[in-house]
């Protein structure tokens, strides 16, 4: 058989095309990968792994729940106890919407070594629901009329406190003084004074004290800490973090139960240290809207954002705080603002510098909140070398004027609009630098936090850590030090809003710098419009 040139061209013509395409594809990918690994090597970030805690072995820990409202129920589910009503409701919802995995996730949740022995709630309906749902033939959940009765009963080793804010500290202190372990919801305290008393109680107690900032368990935050410590962002001069809500639930207008009346609610006990007013369902169910029982955006939601950043940066109590805002969208009788902007100054704080030493120092933490718009504004850490968007996933973009990455930016190995690092606990690859496309998929909420292939919630992890610390005499990630910083920062924000002026912290004396003629706790608890105080030179 003879092959002419024409034959070869017609028969083998595809070969050079195949070779060229193969070479182009391979070369391109290898080049891009080399660029990526060069960046990764330079960044040297260790993605965080799921937390490991020692086993909660031995006899079950006897836990009592104080406050079995919305949050109390959620905390009990994290402990492994769901009410029958909730189970039925979630079952029905899963039938309508197969995407609703709440029940499935609850049933798959690891069992904690806990015996729920008692409940304390001033509303009969809540207490009875807990008893009905959690009592078993071997373990009848007991109702205690007061928290003192529960703490002194000798039946309870640990308490979970999910009451209105003004009860957090008194109950925590009583429990700690009796060496009963405490898991208390945020904010840790309702007044400045209580913050010191609670710190003393926690330090002197043998019991383990934990504050319910469950996001400290979120893997992306732990990775973010590593990123900041490695100097990836350079010096962070500004943090922007937000609360954006626009619905009744978000504005604390919770449902009012039909069976609520003076016979089913121990009104006197609910009021506690709050001003004595006649029975009022609105105040009882929607207590977050009044300074007498709650602390609105500063205590309820700013604390979340402050602690989220404090667990990454460990920046501590701000040097000074100024706040502004008002009641602009929910004129429904509340006295806490529904729009709040808080600027916390940290003039001495530094996350390190890629420039001349000492050139970069100081940071402003800017919290911006509205209950009148739910547009999603992300949490952003703005550094000289890079910007980090921090949420369940985490993305880092280089800054176009970065000193650290100047060469790579010049060589176009880095581009300001392409992330240099992305961490997504749910993705297959733990430390992939990704394109804008996969960022898009992550933002869509398609990825979840998985541990060993199962979706888990951070409150469960936070409670597990507390229970493990009780059994093994370990540490908790949000204890009294972190809680103290959170509470003081929140109170400074509340005071600043109420007084219309800057509030400063004296780090040496560990006190909020006094203002002549002003009793901080009186101001914090007062209702009504903020009072604008004149500033004197000695106070600056």
């Amino acid at each position: 058989m003879k092959w002419s040139r024409r034959d070869l061209l017609k028969g083998l013509g595809g070969l050079p095309i195949l070779g060229a395409v193969w070479w182009a594809g391979a070369a391109n990918t290898v080049y891009n990968r080399r660029g990526r690994s060069e960046i990764l090597q330079q960044l040297n970030i260790s993605p965080s792994l799921p937390p490991m805690v020692p086993n909660i072995g031995g006899e079950p820990i006897k836990v009592g729940i104080i406050g079995f409202g919305i949050r109390g129920e959620q905390l009990c589910r994290s402990l492994g106890f769901a009410t029958k009503e909730w189970m039925e409701e979630m079952k029905a919802e899963a039938e309508i919407d197969p995407k609703n995995k709440a029940l499935e996730d609850f049933l798959n949740q690891d069992k904690l070594n806990v015996k729920l022995v008692g409940v304390c709630d001033v509303f009969d309906v809540n207490a009875e629901r807990a008893i009905r749902s959690f009592s078993t033939p071997e373990n009848k959940v007991k109702r205690y009329d007061t928290y003192q009765e529960m703490i002194h009963s000798g039946e309870v080793e640990a308490v979970v406190i999910a009451t209105p804010d003004h009860w957090h500290a008194p109950i925590s202190i009583e429990a700690l003084n009796n060496n009963i372990h405490v898991y208390v919801e945020k904010p840790m305290t309702h007044t400045v004074d209580e913050t010191y008393s609670l710190r003393t109680a926690a330090e002197q107690s043998k019991a383990i004290f934990a504050v319910g900032h469950q996001h400290r368990q979120t893997l992306s935050f732990k990775t973010a800490k590593d990123i900041v410590e490695k100097g990836t962002l350079g010096h962070v001069s500004l943090i922007q973090t937000n609360t954006n809500r626009n619905d009744d639930n978000g504005a604390w207008n919770y449902d009012i139960h039909s069976k609520a009346n003076p016979d089913t609610i121990d009104w006197e006990q609910f009021l506690g240290s709050a001003p004595k007013i006649p029975f009022n369902k609105n105040h009882f169910f929607r207590w977050r809207k009044w300074w007498a029982y709650g602390s609105g955006l500063s205590g309820d939601l700013l604390t979340h954002d402050y602690d989220r950043l404090n667990c990454v940066l460990n920046m501590g109590i701000p040097h000074s705080v100024s706040a502004s805002g008002g009641i602009y969208t929910h004129n429904d009788g509340r006295d806490v603002p529904d729009v709040l902007q808080v600027n916390m100054e940290f003039p001495e704080f530094s996350t390190g510098s890629s420039q001349a030493q000492g050139k970069e120092k100081g940071m402003t933490f800017c919290y911006s909140a509205t209950l009148g718009n739910a547009f999603s504004r992300p949490t952003i850490l703005m550094g000289h070398d890079a910007t980090m968007e921090l949420g369940n996933t985490l993305t880092v973009w280089p800054d176009m004027a970065s000193t650290r990455y100047a060469e790579m930016l010049e060589a176009e190995k880095m581009l300001p609009h392409i992330p240099i690092y992305q961490y997504n606990p749910g993705a297959n690859v733990p430390d992939a630098i990704s394109s804008a496309t996969s960022q898009y998929f992550a933002d869509k909420g398609l990825m979840w936090t998985y541990i060993n292939g199962e979706r888990v919630d951070s409150t469960f992890l936070h409670m597990r850590e507390w229970l493990s610390a009780i059994k093994n005499d370990g540490n908790v990630s949000c204890g009294i030090k972190e809680g103290f910083e959170e509470a003081i920062a929140a109170h400074m924000a509340g005071l600043s809003w109420k007084l219309g002026r800057k509030i400063a912290w004296d780090a040496e004396k560990e006190v909020i710098k006094p203002i002549a003629g002003v009793d901080f706790d009186e101001v914090l608890l007062s209702s009504g419009e903020p009072e604008i105080l004149p500033v004197t030179t000695e106070q600056l």
């Binding site: 058989m1 028969g11 195949l18 594809g25 990968r33």
Partner: protein, 159 residues
């Protein structure tokens, strides 16, 4: 009567179509082959439309590895078959299957959100058009005109 010039033009056109589709498949396959971090997870996880439950099954941890390998292998097989002009009918079947899956994972139906697309589509998108082109290649194989099939076809002819 056969118009040989027209016949030649048709052949050349289909050869070009075949080679370019092959090029496209091959390049996609090679990119994935040389990038160990690539996964179809994101594409499948965000699937929409009537076959969404099927695509959701594919992302389970035990399956996704196989899905990724098969997808990559299929892309390369089609790419090689089309550029070289060999086994093109079989290649076309594989290509039609792959493109149908891509189309059905993110169908451009007006009632569905269009995720991450660079154009505007209403029922018909580029995947579907490429699929139809592959049907044409299946029905009009051109490997004997330009490609390895040229030799296979020549074999029985004694000179």
């Amino acid at each position: 009567m056969v118009d040989s010039i027209k016949d030649r033009n048709v052949n050349i056109s289909i050869v070009l179509l075949r080679v370019f589709i092959g090029w496209h498949f091959l390049y996609e396959g090679v990119i994935k082959l040389f990038n160990p971090e690539w996964t179809s997870f994101g594409y499948l996880a965000s699937a929409q439309g009537p076959l969404k439950p099927f695509f959701s099954l594919l992302i389970s941890p035990s399956v996704i590895g196989w899905v990724d390998v098969l997808n990559m292998a299929a892309l390369i097989i089609v790419g090689v078959a089309f550029t070289l002009g060999v086994f093109e009918k079989k290649g076309a079947i594989v290509a039609i299957g792959l493109l149908a899956l891509y189309y059905l994972a993110h169908p451009p139906f007006p009632w569905l959100d269009q995720l991450n697309t660079e154009g505007n589509y209403w029922f018909v998108n580029k995947n579907l058009i490429e699929l139809i082109a592959c049907i044409l290649i299946y029905n009009f194989p051109t490997g004997h005109y330009f490609g390895l099939n040229y030799f296979i076809k020549r074999k029985p002819i004694k000179t």
